[in-house]
Amino acid sequence: MQIPYITEERPDTGLTNSKLGIWVFLASEIMLFGGLFSAYVFLRIAAPEGDFAYWGSKLNIPMATINTLVLISSSMTMIMSWASLKMKDFEKYKMYMGLTLLFASIFLVIKYFEYTGKFHHGIYPSSSTFMGIYFTLTGLHMLHIIGGMIVMGYFWLPFGNKMWTTEPERFTNRIEIAGLYWHFVDLVWIFLFPILYLL
């Protein structure tokens, strides 16, 4: 007996197993970042007047703005790669998925320069509470980016995407699920950017 509802939807719930699974997973991710965001709010209230604003002004807003655009673009190419599979165009899928990976790498490179720039100025997580929460939140977000890149890289490389020839529908679903995760990681950054850089 096979496990049912891997590619076809269960009639009464209208979901495949993995679609429901990723939403439950994202719910827990929201609680993880929600916990950290509330810690940020709590610490900001507890901090001396102007402390967060002072340390926040040391962050590099142009770099973060570029990174925001880069991540939003990667979300778009992610959608396009899934849409290409839906239209049975595997070559286009490879291109858009490659672009997504490229954007993700650009994000990491820019983040690397941001981090090392801070270290050169002697700014570390221990420098202040704001810097602590900045490095923790962006670091955890970067781990999510790297995790996403590993999964997407697997689906991009030949040994990961050979499922396209055997079970194309299931492979398309996998890209959709990976995409939902990727949009979530993007969304987290959309929240991180204003509260860390702009506030």
């Binding site: 699974g21 719910a27 610490l43 202040s128 923790t136």
Partner: protein
């Protein structure tokens, strides 16, 4: 995946790195029982020190240093690890990992869990977390010493905390993967005809529990990450400005808040209480219905009650924090929600009691454990009410009263229910019944000695004896009148350990020599009993199961036998 049963599997694939939910369930079961036993042994060492302070511990004293006396640092270590191991490595993996994995797919007529590989990943992540926790005893700095609650600022200065935090991250990952899987399995893989209100109460208990784990654990993970940063990157999320430790000012930026940890920690740890109790209630519900030969009374109110319980458990966490000075308004809010959350628990417990009314009860071993659960959990729950009200909590906070309260919920409550589950489903797992005589020899002494340990704690706590005292209160004036209980409690604990010997003998003897049984030895109605014993590898049932009726149709008027299985038309 589920369809590869046609090719031969070698030993490693079949029993170690299996993706079959039944094997993983048994792996979880064996590992967590060993951790439960280990956690209990840690406590027995501590109880020796409490009963006979500063005398060498017999038999294992050599492990504790040259004198054989349990020193305060190690006492703290054992205390912290006892709590951590019992909760995160013992009871939850047994209730959710073992029973959830093994029974839920069978009770909903599914061939396996929805994500078999994630299921295996969940077990191995738990295993790694457990190894890290155990290994931390052998690190030069030793295991964690700041209690299972790990309150900062002390936990940040105490050695051994880093390994604890890393171990916790693995355990949280494990429970996240496991509970995700349970939710998807229950929603998606129910057999045709198995509507929501035809689910056995055990499945409902697991379903609500899985939601609690998915939503409550991540904030603790967030808190663990922050505390890890405090320890390894010298941040000061939980360290206020101007902190002095061991006579020297602490060199950190400051402006953090220890209260933040308490909020994040209890946001997990209160729902965690319901994670401990809901699967237990599920087992008790099934066992009671089966052994009273009656439908469970008020099935729908029990289900609604457990869902409401799950929801409310997210907004009561600060009743652990009345003494932190968080303010009148906050305290009033959390007192109110705490009083409200006792209502669904009472509904569930009352329904179980009424289910017994007028029944011709079969006093089998699982039923004895399930029956003992009711008053024991009742005592645990009712003694919690004074702790939920600020005024009385000020006196009782951090005393042995609290220890007695939550041990009544978890030890003779949850663990008794888990024993009931083991005796009840053992025939399904092995095809053989456990010995009833040995089972009763296990039950009665366990019941007596459990009460021998925990009942005097209320007396000591009301007298004002603080928890976590290395000498059990010898040096405290207000503890002098209740000191004599220490020895009584310790002897009860040692006897309780002896009372578990019949249980272990029973498992091993019954596995090979127990009475052979067919599919349905208890004449039960739920779906797992229509599968062979043990169920087929990787598919459970010979054919697709179809469900025609509710979960507890016992003694249906006009039926030719006193149980009508869900799978029979």
């Amino acid at each position: 995946m589920s369809n590869d049963s046609h090719h031969e599997e070698n030993f490693l694939q079949k029993y170690i790195f299996s993706v079959d939910h039944k094997i993983i369930g048994i792996q979880y079961g064996i590992t967590s029982l060993m951790f439960l036993f280990f956690g209990f042994c840690l406590m027995m060492v501590m109880r020796w020190q409490l009963a006979y302070p500063e005398t060498p511990v017999p038999y294992i004293g050599g492990l504790l240093g040259e004198t054989g006396i349990l020193m305060p640092e190690i006492y703290n270590m054992l205390g912290a690890m006892h709590g951590t191991i019992m909760i995160f490595l013992g009871v939850v993996p047994l209730a959710v990992g073992a029973f959830g994995n093994y029974i839920v797919p069978l009770q909903i007529g599914a061939p396996d869990m929805a994500f078999p590989k994630l299921n295996a990943a969940s077990y191995w992540s738990y295993f790694i977390g457990g190894v890290i926790m155990l290994a931390s005893f052998f690190l030069p700095e030793g295991a964690a010493r700041s209690g299972w609650t790990s309150y900062p600022p002390l936990s940040i200065f105490e050695t051994g905390q880093t390994a604890w935090l890393i171990g916790m991250v693995f355990l949280i990952t494990s429970s996240l993967l496991g509970s995700m899987n349970i939710i998807v399995t229950i929603v998606q893989l129910r057999a045709p005809g198995l509507t929501w209100f035809r689910l056995p109460f055990f499945v409902w208990g697991q379903f609500v529990t899985a939601f609690l784990l998915v939503l409550a654990f991540p904030p603790l993970e967030a808190a663990a990450v922050l505390q890890l940063m405090d320890r390894v990157a010298q941040t000061s999320f939980f360290l206020p400005s101007g902190l002095v430790y061991s006579g020297a000012a602490v060199d950190v930026y400051g402006s953090g808040s220890p209260l933040l940890w308490q909020h994040l920690f209890w946001f997990l740890a209160h729902p965690e209480v319901y994670v401990l109790i809901l699967p237990a209630m599920g087992i008790v519900g099934d066992v009671i219905a089966n052994n009273t030969r009656k439908p469970l009374w008020g099935y729908k109110s029990i289900v609604y009650g457990s869902v409401f319980l799950g929801f409310m458990s997210f907004i009561v966490w600060a009743h652990h924090m009345f003494l932190t000075g968080m303010g009148q308004a906050m305290s009033s809010f959390f007192q109110t929600t705490t009083m409200i959350i006792s209502i669904p628990s009472v509904i569930i417990l009352t329904s179980f009691f009424i289910s017994l009314w007028g029944a011709s009860i079969r006093f089998t071993t699982p039923m004895l454990f399930a029956l003992a659960f009711l008053p024991m959990f009742g005592i645990g729950g009712l003694t919690g009410l004074p702790l939920g009200v600020g005024a009385s909590d000020i006196h009782l906070h951090d005393t042995y009263y609290v220890i007695g309260h939550f041990h009544y919920v978890v030890a003779p409550g949850t663990i008794f229910a888990l024993f009931a589950g083991i005796y009840y489903w053992f025939p399904k797992m092995t095809g053989r019944k456990m010995s009833e005589a040995l089972g009763k020899l296990h039950f009665w002494p366990s019941l007596i000695f459990m009460n021998g340990i925990f009942l005097p704690m209320f007396i000591q706590g009301l007298a004002g004896v603080s928890r976590r005292l290395y000498d059990g209160g010898q040096s405290y004036a207000h503890a002098q009148d209740v000191l004599q209980w220490n020895e009584f409690m310790s002897i009860s604990a040692f006897c309780l350990a002896a009372a578990q010997i019949p249980f272990f003998i029973n498992i091993f003897v019954s596995m090979f020599n127990g009475e052979k049984v067919g599919r349905n030895p208890w004449q039960s109605t739920t779906i797992e009993w229509s599968a062979p014993s043990p169920p087929l590898p990787h598919r459970n049932f010979e054919n697709q199961v179809e469900v025609y009726r509710g979960p507890y149709e016992y003694s249906v008027p006009g039926a030719d036998k006193d149980f009508s299985p869900q799978t029979e038309k």
